[in-house]
Amino acid sequence: MDFELMGQSLPQLLKGTLLTLELVGLALVIGMAVAVPIALLRVSKRRWLMLPAYGYIFFFRGTPLLVQFFLVYYGLSQFTFIRESILWTVLREPYWCSIIALTINTSAYTGEVLRGAIQAVSRGQIEAGLALGMSSWQLLRRIIGPQALRLALPGYSNEVILLVKSSALASTVTLLELTGVTRNIIAVTFKPVELYLLAGGIYLVMTFMATRVFVFVEYRLSAHRRPAVGTV
């Protein structure tokens, strides 16, 4: 075991970790913004609204993330009109391609989680809301939204952990996040055991922390299910 090398590489790996966190953070925020409308379209009763959302979720959940990365990063360059458009300044950057691929992927999975949560809100409450004369927007904001968010939490926490792990694929499109930095150092030093142990450890810390955060959030959001203080 070359502990000296591990110590020397740690600062570089931590720099890569920052980029990993940046990718995950951005993909989560944009992904959620995409997932909410997708989920709402998916539960629509109008087929022409529901089918595109269904197709989106079906395609991006049914294909490997690596293919999605390659389609965005390499695939789009096949079209001259994309290469000549203003979009190309963004689409030739591995950084933006990674964010696009991760966002699309996580929004499909999150959309499906949200769909389940929306459909799990009990029918009687929606009817009660309708009986009180609420518009569908009011129903969504006051009745369905808050409960669906709570119901979606366990599924969503799994998705966040999967996304942290998925971000490693950005290294395949030459981005130097945690895995990319690790592979680079190994290419120079050829000490795979030490460096993968180190990188694996950092990923473990990240996924563990994500788990703890969600346990805490879930605890806070289920206050109504706990006995009141002093009654037990």
């Binding site: 079906f58 395609f59 049914g62 294909t63 490997p64 993330l65 690596l66 293919v67 999605q68 390659f70 389609l71 390499y74 695939g75 789009l76 360059s77 096949q78 079209f79 942290v164 792990k165 998925s166 971000s167 490693a168 694929l169 290294s171 395949t172 895995t179 690790t182 592979r183 190994i186 000490k191 795979p192 055991v193 993968y196 990188a199 694996g200 990923y203 473990l204 996924t207 563990f208």
Partner: protein, 229 residues
Amino acid sequence: MINFYGFGGTLAAGTWMTIQVSLLSLAFGLFFGLVGAVAKLSRFMPIRAGAGLVTTVVRGVPELVLVLAVYFGGSVLINNVLSWFGYQGYVEINALGAGVLAIGGTFAAYATEVFRGAILAVPEGQVEAARALGMHRFLIFRRILLPQVWRYALPALGNLFLILQKNTALVSVIGLHELMRRASVAVGYTKKPFTFYMAAALIYLAITTVTSFSLQLMENRAARGVRRA
């Protein structure tokens, strides 16, 4: 008809390799998942703790890192161990073995929890009844536990298998000539990345769709002894 520039056969060969890798990893993962579950239910604390540690680590690390670590790190480790015993040659893990180990290992780590829950879901009284009939432990496992564990575990295992099939694409990174790798090679010759990666995507989609359809049939069959509510 789409033009594959003569690489259609290559894609077909890659698809066959992808199917082989996923089935091998599945067999590996099912076996070690069951072993892991039995270990987690063991009466001996060190065995339980060891199984818990392994599954936590494997589930917390990206699959891509696992594939790379097994392939590159595994070779180094094996050669170090061999040199202690005085062996001077160089041994290399092949891409197929490393892929099956990493992808099947991930499946096993998740399947351990699934099997553990399913074993606990079988009523204790049935095991006692079997013991009263004089069955020994292996026979109880085969006749009483396994058929029911299968029914309880199948839906979750099916999801894990769909994830496994998509994870096999990662083995292309260490050079195994499965679907993804073949598509990349074709792209190298033809400079048509979208055509070939989209073709690969659609083949994966077909594989996962057929799988989830078959899983539904298998779930129905596994539950044939249970009355519907």
